[in-house]
C-alpha cells in the first residue's frame, strides 16, 4: 500500500481508524500535559514513571489473571503513582537530588518489572504471552474501548486544565509566591502530577514503557520554540502530538513490520529538530542570520560614523570627499559602500562620496545615543 492510500485508509478502514484516532488523542494529551512537565523541569519524571509502571502491569496480570488492557493499565497507574510518591519523598527527606531519586526509582522498579516478566513467562499457563508488548507498545492492539478511555481522560484533563489554568500557571512560574497568595500548592501539584502519570500510563499500550517519555516531551520541546505564551505552547504541543500520532500511524501502516510506537516517536523527534532549526523566534537558523545581519549593520554604521566625522568638519555636510580618504582611517569595501548607497545614506560619484541628509541624520542620532551611553 502506498503512503497516500494508507492515509486514506486511516479514515475509511475501521481498524486503522481506531488506531489513528487513539494515537492522535494520545499524542494530543501527551503534548498538552508534557508541556507542564517540561516547564517544571521534570522532563525525566516521565521516563521514570513509565519505567516504574512495568511491574504494575505484570502484578495486575498475576493478581487478576486478566489481560484486558484497562486492567493491566490500572495496575500500572497504581504502581506509577507509588513510584511518583517515592521519588517525591526521597527528594524531600534525604540529601539526594531529584535526578538521583528519579534514576533510583526508575532502575529499581524497572528491574523488578523485568524480573516479574521473566517469572511470568516461565509459568506453565499459556495465557501469559504478550505482556512484553508493553515494553515497546503495540498500537495494533488498540480497541474501541481503549480509545474511549483515552478520549474520556483527555476531556477530563481539558476541563481541569481550563478550570485551574491560572493556578497551574502561577504554580509553574513561582510556587513560593503562589503559596503566599493562599493557594494550596500541594493540591495543584498533585492534580498536575496525577494527570501526567495517567497520560504516561495510557501511552504504555501504544508507545511502550521505554519510549513513552519521548512522546510526552518532544511535542512540548518543539512547541516552546514557536511561541512565548503558555496557552499557545500547550495548544501547539497538543497539535504536534496529534500530528505525530497520525503521521506515525500512517507510515507504520504503509510499510510492513514498522512498529507504530517508535515511528510516532521518530516523527515527533523530527518535528523537534525542525523546530530547533527553523523557528523564527528561537530557531538556530534565524538566530544566526540575525547575528550576521547585526554584525554587518554595525560595520556599516562604523563606516558611516567615520564619514560623518569627516563631513561635519565642512559647513555643508554634502560636500564630496575622495573615497581614498577613508583608507587613512580604516578599511572599507566596495560592497559596503554600495550597501550604504542603497540605504541612501551616501551618494557615490566617480571616486568621491558625499553624505545625504538621511545619512547625516542617521549618523548624528547614533552618535547622540552613543554619547548618552558613555555619559
Amino acid at each position: 500500500m502506498s503512503i497516500f492510500d494508507t492515509f486514506i485508509a486511516l479514515f475509511t478502514d475501521s481498524t486503522l481508524r481506531t488506531i489513528a484516532i487513539g494515537t492522535m488523542v494520545l499524542g494530543a494529551t501527551s503534548g498538552m500535559l508534557g508541556s507542564f512537565a517540561v516547564l517544571r523541569k521534570e522532563s525525566l519524571l516521565g521516563d521514570a514513571i513509565s519505567h516504574a509502571a512495568l511491574p504494575g502491569i505484570v502484578l495486575a496480570f498475576l493478581i487478576t489473571g486478566s489481560k484486558e488492557s484497562y486492567v493491566l493499565l490500572f495496575g500500572a497507574l497504581i504502581v506509577g503513582l507509588i513510584g511518583t510518591v517515592w521519588i517525591r519523598s526521597i527528594v524531600h527527606k534525604t540529601h539526594l537530588k531529584t535526578d538521583t531519586a528519579l534514576g533510583l526509582i526508575l532502575s529499581i522498579f524497572f528491574g523488578f518489572g523485568i524480573l516479574l516478566l521473566t517469572y511470568v513467562q516461565k509459568l506453565p499457563d499459556a495465557n501469559q504471552a504478550g505482556l512484553d508488548k508493553y515494553l515497546f507498545g503495540q498500537a495494533a492492539t488498540l480497541i474501541d474501548l481503549d480509545v474511549y478511555i483515552l478520549i474520556a481522560v483527555t476531556l477530563i484533563a481539558l476541563v481541569i486544565l481550563f478550570l485551574f489554568w491560572k493556578e497551574f500557571k502561577i504554580m509553574l512560574f513561582d510556587t513560593d509566591y503562589a503559596k503566599t497568595l493562599g493557594f494550596n500548592v500541594k493540591f495543584i501539584d498533585i492534580l498536575i502530577t496525577f494527570f501526567i502519570v495517567l497520560t504516561i500510563v495510557l501511552g504504555l499500550q501504544t508507545v511502550g514503557v521505554v519510549l513513552m517519555s519521548a512522546l510526552l516531551l518532544a511535542p512540548a520541546a518543539a512547541a516552546r520554540q514557536w511561541t512565548n505564551s503558555l496557552g499557545k505552547m500547550v495548544l501547539i504541543a497538543a497539535i504536534i502530538g496529534a500530528l505525530s500520532g497520525l503521521i506515525g500511524t500512517g507510515i507504520s501502516a504503509s510499510e510492513n513490520n514498522l512498529p507504530t510506537g517508535p515511528v510516532i516517536v521518530i516523527v515527533a523527534s523530527a518535528i523537534v529538530l525542525f523546530s530547533f532549526i527553523f523557528s523564527p523566534i528561537r530557531g538556530i537558523l534565524f538566530q544566526q542570520l540575525r547575528l550576521h545581519q547585526n554584525r554587518n549593520n554595525l560595520e556599516l554604521m562604523k563606516t558611516l560614523q567615520l564619514m560623518y566625522n569627516i563631513a561635519k568638519t565642512h559647513q555643508d555636510f554634502t560636500h564630496p570627499h575622495a573615497i581614498g580618504i577613508l583608507n587613512d582611517f580604516r578599511g572599507f569595501s566596495k560592497s559596503s559602500l554600495k550597501k550604504m548607497e542603497e540605504k541612501e545614506w551616501i551618494q557615490i560619484e566617480g571616486n568621491q562620496w558625499k553624505l545625504t541628509a538621511i545619512g547625516f541624520k542617521e549618523a548624528k542620532d547614533m552618535f547622540h545615543s552613543n554619547s548618552l551611553e558613555n555619559g
Partner: protein
C-alpha cells in the same frame, strides 16, 4: 501620641535545615509604618527569616502574627517580592501576565482576572515605569526590568505589609533609585516594609529601622539608635570600621 500598632510579631521562631539551626529563637516586633532592613552576613538566615514569616518554610518552633492575628488568616495584607533569581525567566509569559498574578490572591480559585484586574496591573506597571514593556516576553527584560515587574506584581496586591528579598540585587543605579523612591512612597502611605538588604552603606539612607541577624537576632530598632559599629561587629564578626575602608 497615637498608640503604636505592631504589624508583624515573631515569637520564638526557630528553623533548621538538616539538623543545623538556620534561625535560632527569633523574637521580633515590627511596628506599623516602618521601613526596615534585615542585614547580616551570608548564611545568616535573612531569606529564611522572611520565608518563615510567610509560611513558605516550616519552622520547628515559633509563630508569626500579623496585626495581632495568625499570618495564615492575614495573607491578603502581606505582599511578597521574592529574589529575582528564584524563578525561571525563560517561562513563556509576558510582563503584564506576571503582574496580573498579583491579583490571583483576591480572585481566589478558578476565577480569572478581568478588566478591573487588568487595569490595576497596567497602573502598577506605570508606577514602576514599565508600561511600554507590558507585552514583552519576560526573558527579554533586563535584570532591573525584571525586578520592577516583580515589584509591580506586589503593588497590585495593594497590601499593608511588603516583604522583599534583596530587591536591589543585580540592578543598575537608575533602577535602584527608582525602586527606593517607590518604597519611600509606600511608606508615606503608611505601609510597612521589610527588606532583606546587602549593602550596608545605603542602610541609613534608605531605611529607618534595621534588624541585625546572624542565626540569632543581634538587635532590632530604629537606625539612629542601633546602627552602630558595635552591632555591626557583633553581626559580622569582624571590626566593621576596618573592613569597610
Amino acid at each position: 501620641m497615637k498608640e503604636e500598632r505592631i504589624a508583624i510579631q515573631v515569637d520564638d521562631l526557630t528553623v533548621a535545615y538538616n539538623y543545623k539551626p538556620v534561625l535560632w529563637d527569633i523574637d521580633l516586633k515590627i511596628p506599623e509604618g516602618v521601613m526596615m532592613a534585615i542585614v547580616g552576613p551570608n548564611g545568616a538566615g535573612k531569606s529564611t527569616l522572611i520565608k518563615a514569616m510567610l509560611d513558605i518554610v516550616k519552622p520547628i518552633a515559633g509563630n508569626v502574627q500579623v496585626f495581632g492575628k495568625p499570618y495564615h488568616k492575614q495573607r491578603k495584607l502581606v505582599a511578597y517580592v521574592p529574589q529575582k533569581g528564584s524563578v525561571d525567566w525563560d517561562f513563556p509569559t509576558t510582563a503584564i501576565d506576571v503582574v496580573l498574578m498579583g491579583t490571583y490572591g483576591t480572585l481566589g480559585w478558578i476565577k480569572r482576572p478581568g478588566l478591573k484586574e487588568k487595569k490595576a496591573a497596567l497602573e502598577a506597571l506605570e508606577k514602576v515605569d514599565m508600561l511600554s514593556f507590558k507585552d514583552r516576553q519576560i526573558s527579554q527584560l533586563s535584570g532591573g526590568q525584571q525586578q520592577r515587574v516583580f515589584l509591580a506584581r506586589a503593588l497590585v496586591q495593594n497590601a499593608s505589609i511588603y516583604i522583599m528579598d534583596e530587591p536591589f540585587q543585580g540592578v543598575d543605579a537608575t533602577t535602584e533609585i527608582a525602586i527606593v523612591n517607590i518604597l519611600k512612597e509606600l511608606r508615606k502611605d503608611g505601609k510597612t516594609l521589610v527588606v532583606v538588604h546587602h549593602d550596608l552603606q545605603t542602610v541609613p539612607e534608605y531605611f529607618d529601622w534595621v534588624t541585625f541577624l546572624n542565626v540569632e537576632k543581634i538587635a532590632t530598632g530604629p537606625i539612629k539608635d542601633i546602627f552602630n559599629d558595635d552591632n555591626l561587629t557583633k553581626t559580622y564578626g569582624i571590626n566593621y570600621k576596618v573592613a569597610i575602608r
